[in-house]
């Protein structure tokens, strides 16, 4: 039992390390881009610090999101929760709101398409049109 727990721990730990490595790699790429843009170099320690910070902040975000969802008596994390999380930073909040609206619009359009399809589907004559529509839409 203990061994299983240990191996589980180890697995989790190694998994965590892999995640951290992935974050570190991504942060490194981003920093390189910024360095090229601003013509300023990033030291390795900086990149490591940023990636560690990002990783921990992601953990905090996840916990907060879960708390927010639970606070709203839901079991699924919603875009509302994400917006609540980003409310501190106005620009970020604006960006997220726009994106969410975009996504909502896309969803609405898809629903409309589906409705149309279903309606057309009932009418056999329109099947080819639907197919055409579906293809064009998608």
């Amino acid at each position: 039992m203990e061994e299983e727990g240990e191996t589980e721990e180890q697995q989790r730990f190694s998994y965590q390390q892999r995640l951290k490595a992935a974050v570190h790699y991504t942060v490194g790429c981003l920093c390189e881009e910024v360095a090229l843009d601003k013509e300023m170099q990033f030291s390795k320690q900086t990149i490591a610090a940023i990636s560690e910070l990002t990783f921990r902040q992601c953990e905090n975000f996840a916990k907060d999101l879960e708390m927010f969802a639970r606070h709203a008596k839901r079991t699924t994390i919603n875009t509302e929760d994400v917006k609540l999380l980003a409310r501190r930073s106005n620009s970020l909040l604006k960006y997220i709101t726009d994106k969410s609206e975009e996504i909502a619009q896309i969803n609405v359009e898809r629903k409309a398409q589906k409705k149309k399809k279903s309606e057309d589907g009932s009418k056999n004559s329109r099947e080819p049109a639907e197919a055409g529509l579906g293809e064009s839409e998608n």
Partner: protein, 560 residues
């Protein structure tokens, strides 16, 4: 005990033995037996009333005779306090109790037999005044071996103790702990005497520290404010009645009031106040420093006037200490940020001056001046001011809002090039007085906002006083101001969050669940420490009853 008794007079000893039959043999006493013999002799000689049938008497005689011994014995008894038999307790009580009694001039019987160990007086002296007093009262030493009936002793003790207490003030404070324990065990009455009477009132020098600094200039400032308020009462009223008053409605008034304001010298103060209020107000309900609150109202008007369509809410908000304005959430926050930025820039310009004046009209002119002077810098003003005011959290919002303030500022510049100079002169004149007023507590200059602003500013000043008290060292005024600003921002954020959480749950009322979520984010509430635990730890009982569901009779649960 019994071992030691037989040496001297058989009668008292036998009595003692009878009384103390249950007394446990105390080692310390044994060695005393040798001395006890001598003491007993004394007792016999001294005590005239023995065996009157009252062990009490005997004890008294004995006590008189060998008081010192008794004391030492008592000391011993005390040393054995751990045994905690009724007898020992009584002994201790007797030891600690003042010797004098109404019945007998001598002190009440000393407990314990004390075969009396003649203890070196060190204990006696340490024992305390009680023991020592006896000799004063009655030089004769008496053995106090006989244990009188406990009740009697207690009664005597009480009387004697009371007498002694009355006569000697606080002699009992020196009683050894053992006696105190014994007395506590035996009689609560005795306790009062046995324990040190000195209440040891904690003199907190800090409490008397820092009386609120009141400036004599207040009157002048107040009059000025009154003058100013008289100019802009309609605006204030407007703000009061309509928290979200439309900017267009307010702007005309502002414009009207603006020309009038420049003349007042309190402009600077207003500016400063406005800045404060704006910086603090934008947030929301907490216009902590009175000045800011007032200022906010003034500033708000200004902003509205210039902003045209800008946040009247901000002004309204500033005017109101309620959270109402926050309903709009982000929008309001942004607006407030703008206001804040404006006000902040102003503040920067005038550099934190007399806050007490928050007259709107004057503030407006001042604000405009400040803005004009700052120029584009004001665009960054919100950011800079926020930074300056430790409002780093607001940096983001000011940035977004900076665009609007810039436009506003440009407009302002245009609008107030002329009024600027005259107010400037006035400002300069008023500046010297303003620094004096900087530390003022809220001044209800405006009739309208007054009721709203005062409580908030008063609330924050209370926290600042607490802070300065706990700091245990003198603090600069500026430091305290910064503390006030930080507190203001903190509370603004807090209430912002609470409002948002409540809205997130689809509610319009903030409930304890929202607060719990906030505290969880703060790290105060964890999986190990729940909100109820914190409530129990820190809140008084009344709040606990209101917050924690408790089951009562009749199948009812309150408050849930």
């Amino acid at each position: 005990m019994a071992d030691h008794n037989p040496d001297g007079d058989p009668t008292p000893r036998t009595l003692l033995r009878r009384v103390l039959d249950t007394a446990d043999p105390r080692t310390p006493r044994r060695p005393r037996s040798a001395r006890a013999g001598a003491q007993r002799a004394l007792l016999e000689t001294a005590s005239s009333r023995r065996l009157s049938g009252q062990t009490k008497m005997i004890a008294k005689g004995r006590s008189r005779g060998a008081r010192s011994i008794g004391r030492s014995a008592h000391v011993q008894a005390r040393g054995h306090l751990e045994e905690q038999t009724p007898r020992t307790l009584l002994k201790n009580i007797l030891l600690t109790a003042p010797e004098s009694s109404i019945l007998m001039p001598e002190s009440v019987v000393k407990p314990v037999p004390a075969p009396q160990v003649v203890q070196p007086s060190r204990r006696e002296s340490s024992r305390g005044s009680l023991e020592l007093q006896l000799p004063e009262l009655e030089p004769s030493t008496t053995l106090a071996p006989g244990l009188l009936a406990p009740g009697r002793r207690k009664q005597r003790l009480r009387l004697s103790m009371f007498q002694q207490g009355v006569d000697q003030g606080l002699p009992l404070s020196q009683e050894p702990q053992g006696n105190a324990d014994a007395s506590s065990l035996t009689s609560s009455l005795n306790l009062t005497f046995a324990t040190p009477l000195q209440p040891q009132s904690v003199q907190r020098p800090g409490l008397a520290r820092r009386p609120p600094a009141r400036r004599a200039v207040d009157v002048g400032a107040f009059l000025r404010d009154l003058r100013d308020t008289s100019l802009a009462p309609p605006n204030i009223v407007l703000e009061d009645t309509q928290p979200f008053s439309q900017p267009t409605v307010g702007s005309p008034n502002v414009y009207h009031s603006l020309p009038c304001t420049p003349h007042t010298g309190a402009e600077d103060a207003e500016q400063a106040a406005g800045r404060r209020t704006q910086s603090s107000g934008p947030g929301l309900q907490n216009n902590s420093p009175g000045k800011p609150a007032q200022f906010l109202a003034g500033e708000a008007e200004e902003v509205d006037a210039f902003a045209l369509g800008f946040l009247s809410t901000s002004s309204g908000v500033s005017g109101e200490d309620e959270v109402e304005p926050l309903h709009n959430g982000v929008e309001e926050a942004e607006k407030k940020m703008e206001e804040e930025g404006v006000s902040v820039s102003e503040m920067e310009a005038t550099g934190a001056q007399g806050p007490s004046r928050a007259e709107e009209p004057e503030g407006h002119t001042q604000v405009t001046e400040a803005e004009g002077s700052q120029g584009t810098a004001e665009a960054e003003g919100p950011g800079a001011s926020s930074g300056d005011e430790d409002a780093s959290s607001r940096a983001a919002s000011p940035e977004s809002a900076s665009s609007t303030p810039e436009s506003l500022q440009a407009g302002r510049h245009h609008q107030f090039p002329e009024p600027a100079p005259p107010p400037g002169a006035a400002v300069l004149s008023s500046e010297p007085t303003e620094p004096l007023l900087v530390r003022r507590p809220p001044r209800p200059r405006t009739t309208g906002p007054r009721p709203r602003q005062d409580p908030h500013k008063a609330g924050l000043s209370h926290y600042v006083k607490l802070f300065s008290f706990f700091a245990k060292m003198p603090m600069e005024r500026k430091a305290l101001e910064m503390v006030e600003k930080c507190l203001d921002k903190y509370f603004q954020h807090l209430c912002d969050d609470l409002e948002v959480f409540a809205a997130h749950a689809g509610r319009k009322t903030v409930k304890p669940e929202d607060l719990e979520l906030l505290m969880r984010r703060q790290g105060l509430v964890t999986d190990q420490v729940s909100l109820h635990v914190l409530v129990e730890r820190h809140l008084p009982l009344e709040y606990r009853q209101l917050l924690i569901p408790c089951a009562y009779s009749g199948n009812s649960v309150f408050p849930a």
